[in-house]
Amino acid sequence: MSSSLPSLIVLLPFFGAGVMGFVYLFVPAGRNLRRFYVAVGIGTPLLAALLGLIVVGEMLTLPASASIASPLYSWIAIGSFEIDVAFVVDRLSAVMLLVVTLVGSLIHIYAVGYMWDDQGFGKFFAYFNFFLGAMLLLVLANNPILLFIGWELVGLASYLLIGFYHHDTANITAANKAFLLNRVGDFGFVSGLGLLFALQKQSGFDFAAIFAGLGGIDTAMLSLIGLLLFVGAMGKSAQIPLYVWLPDAMAGPTPVSALIHAATMVTAGVYMVARFAPLYNRIPDVGLFIAGIGAASALLAALFASWQNDIKKILAYSTMSQLGYMLIAVGLGEYSNGIFHLAAHAFFKALLFMGAGAVIIALHHEQDIFKMGGLGSRLPAVRRTMLVATLAITGIPIFAGFFSKDAILSYAFASGHTTIWAIGVVVAFLTAYYMFRLYFVVFVAPNHRSSRSRQSPSLTSLPRSMVWPLFVLAAGSIFLGFWNLPEAYGGSTWFSHELHLADHEAHLRFAKEYILDGFNVLVALLGIAIAYRKFVRPSHPLNAPIHRIAWQRALANTLYIDTLYDRLIVRPLRGISNWQDRLIDPKIIDGSLRGLVTLYRGVATQSARLQNGNLRWYALTFLLGVSGISLYLLIAIGGAS
């Protein structure tokens, strides 16, 4: 069936963005404007969420394979390259739709409080709505080109929002880095699309047509396409080797980090792979590669996170490693679990960021966790919600993370990829460690060096709009898990069934599953214990200088990856450019031309010097001319006769 609601959902935020942007640029600033911004900036996402719920409700009444199409107009039609601006809501995009709109709305509300005193309030909400629209465009697109447009626009939005505080050049640098690395990914993505289009036989380029025509393409090419598309996912979902932008992206305001760099945009890669499930099901080896990348990224990120002091960077790396989990899932072909983890993660990671943001605001933009501490008593609401989220991400039973993550791990084990499973477990352990390290140091640990909160007891009181979204999200993080309760616990994996994706099937006997889950929980508890031992009952006081050995320092500096990129790519390019500027253009090309000109001029001047004004010389040249020609004539005629 078709409906115009999905298009409306996509267009609303864009509309809001346009209106607010226009007002911000062309209407002289005033106090009352802020209310207008709030109205539009919150209204559009909420409306979108409402409509989203309606659409999804509608859809649940339909058979699982059905989808709600919403064609708008024909974007371009040249030869067999016919792209429509058309949106489709099927089960997969429905999940994304809900996640994006609901979590997005909550973060918008949160942002009102967070950004209230900022000069660029209107600009912020314009950007924010713009992002929301772009994200919805991405998830609701019914053809890869439209998806790609959304894909690039969210990148643009994240560029604008990372660089939101543009007085500080460092932020802009971070923004540039983010966009550049995303563009590198997009380069791969668009190459994949182009190749796919060039190879496909049938006309029409929406997902249905593509998947129908996959049979006509040989597997080698398909693998290439799959890889190229995944390069895009690497960029967007901050996986090895394109992940370096994510930690820097924390330069943006915290709501941005929560919405874009935790809940929605970064998961686009996962969504894309799930969306292309029919493609990836044909090329399991590429899927394995994806899973491998995911596992590696998860491990690396967890290690980094364990050595960071900046609260937001810790969360950023944890996001990266959670994304690694999701990619393991989709790579191994259990898309629904990946998507489920995505949804769950959206909730608790958004919650974590917002809590962190609350802390940061409360401490007047202090981000080093070792300068915090003992906040538990002062910010009880934040503490509780943060604890919930931490438990969720750690994978403690009954919390959402437990079900989503363990589903992934047990499947990995079941499908026989034990190494990946092992890595997953190690990451689970590390996750527990660094998350509780964060939690303990910030909220619990009584002793802390140079605590701001001690000599400055005045904490900024948080506006209510910043607090109650935390509780909503906390509730989500707790109860979301039961939607997808596995059979082992008497559930029916309702979510996965409803999601109706082309999953690979691999089942474990319940006993095995209990053992695995128990093991995971133990590992998590171990991590918590170590964190507790280290930071709450420390053997040595935390304020003693930390001696780090080489690998620790390397980890703290994220393995000097940035420097590597700088040395390998940026500097050579600038070198070549200088070289062109100094050598090739002026010296070689222009130089040779100038040489020719100079030669001609030189000869000319020399020949002009023959005009020495001497009468006899002139007569002589005349005579020479005559004799020369006569000679030629003689020879010519001699030859003739």
Binding site: A608, R609, G613, L615, R616
Partner: protein, 105 residues
């Protein structure tokens, strides 16, 4: 009496070449003028000879015209030589290079 016309041609050629040589090698303007006259008169000689070889008198007529032209040139030559001598007190042709390339006027 008949003389082989080739002798006349030989003399004419000699005169003409002498004239050319004079123009090129001599520096005194008067001598240059002289050499040019020499060339023209060599041509006259040739013409006269031809008109003897041919039945008609065209050649002689041409020679007469030529003498007229030569006279006109002579007038011009002498005039300019006098004028130049008044200006520069020399008849050395090499001295007149004011219009040469790169000279400032």
């Amino acid at each position: 009496m008949t003389v082989n016309p080739d002798a006349y041609f030989a003399v004419a050629t000699l005169l003409f070449s002498l004239g050319i040589l004079g123009v090129i090698s001599r520096r005194n303007l008067l001598v240059m003028y002289l050499s040019i006259e020499l060339m023209l008169n060599a041509v006259n000689l040739i013409l006269a000879t031809f008109s003897r070889l041919h039945p008609d008198e065209g050649g002689t007529m041409i020679a007469l015209f030529m003498i007229g032209v030569i006279a006109a040139e002579a007038a011009l030559f002498l005039a300019v030589i006098v004028q130049i001598y008044r200006k520069k007190h020399t008849l050395d042709s090499d001295a007149f290079t004011e219009l040469a390339q790169g000279k400032k006027l």
